[in-house]
């Protein structure tokens, strides 16, 4: 049943398990309970999943209310496909450690790049924030 035929509605996705990608790079997995026209979401039994390489770790978070502007995408999780992923689940401490190491190497590479560009008189502005039109 579609309230407005032809529109991309999230109504059919309610009460299903979803993966939400946020603008800051975080991945949340939870049951979608509520939506509105701004794509603000209410997620239930949410778990924050951190991916590093082939490993991932889940941190239970409870209930999340996500402001729509921070949502990149929302994907319905296929429960059968979820059970046969090639990824390996590890403990929270391990994945946080791996993430810290990854962030460190990224920061160092970034620093070198910025330095090299500065030496040539160029600078790239960081694209952290979106200009809402």
């Amino acid at each position: 049943m579609n309230y407005m035929p032809g529109t991309a509605s999230l109504i059919e996705d309610i009460d299903k398990k979803h993966l939400v990608l946020l603008r800051d790079g975080r991945t949340l997995i939870g049951f979608l309970r509520s939506i509105d026209q701004f794509a603000n979401l209410v997620l239930h039994q949410t778990v924050e999943r951190i991916h590093v390489g082939k490993k991932y770790g889940d941190i239970p978070r409870g209930i999340f209310v996500v402001r729509g502007e921070n949502v990149v995408l929302l994907g319905e999780i296929d429960l059968e496909k979820e059970s046969d992923t090639p990824l390996q689940q590890v403990s929270i401490e391990e994945i946080l450690e791996e993430q810290r190491v990854e962030q460190q190497t990224k920061l160092e590479a970034e620093k070198l790049k910025v330095q090299a560009l500065k030496d040539r008189g160029l600078s790239i502005p960081r694209a952290d924030t979106l200009d809402e039109y």
Binding site: V72, L74, G75
Partner: protein, 123 residues
């Protein structure tokens, strides 16, 4: 160029416009999408990863949010999270571009509709 086809397209597009009460300038893009329903599209997301998602266009709305079914990520090693996801909803504000197959859309029809829209706006 078939007159009947043209009218049908314009009719569909106008009905959509009535339903959603969109601002005229965006209406034309939505009708562009509706013409491509069912076709495979590739959409790149603006944010930090810049992930490219390929999928079948299911629906679009006035904010140009897109719903894709049967998706595949073009670079699966960098974005492992999408492995168990088959359908997704992408918020319109984060889309950098959507690539539609050229043969799916009748540009002639679209141009005519756009011209009509521009005339209507002037009046």
């Amino acid at each position: 160029m078939d007159m009947a086809e043209n009218d049908e397209f314009c009719a569909k597009y106008l009905i959509l416009k009535g339903l959603n009460e969109m601002t005229p300038s965006y209406a034309i893009y939505e009708s562009y999408f509706t013409a491509a329903y069912g076709g495979r599209v590739l959409s790149e997301v603006f944010q930090q990863p810049g992930v490219c998602i390929c999928g079948t266009l299911h629906s679009v709305d006035q904010y140009l949010n897109i719903k894709l079914t049967d998706i595949s990520v073009t670079d699966p090693e960098k974005y492992p999270h999408m492995l168990s996801v088959k359908n997704c909803f992408i918020r319109g504000s984060v889309v950098r571009y959507v690539q539609l197959p050229a043969d799916e859309v009748d540009t002639q029809l679209l141009q005519d509709a756009a011209r009509k829209e521009a005339l209507q706006q002037k009046q």
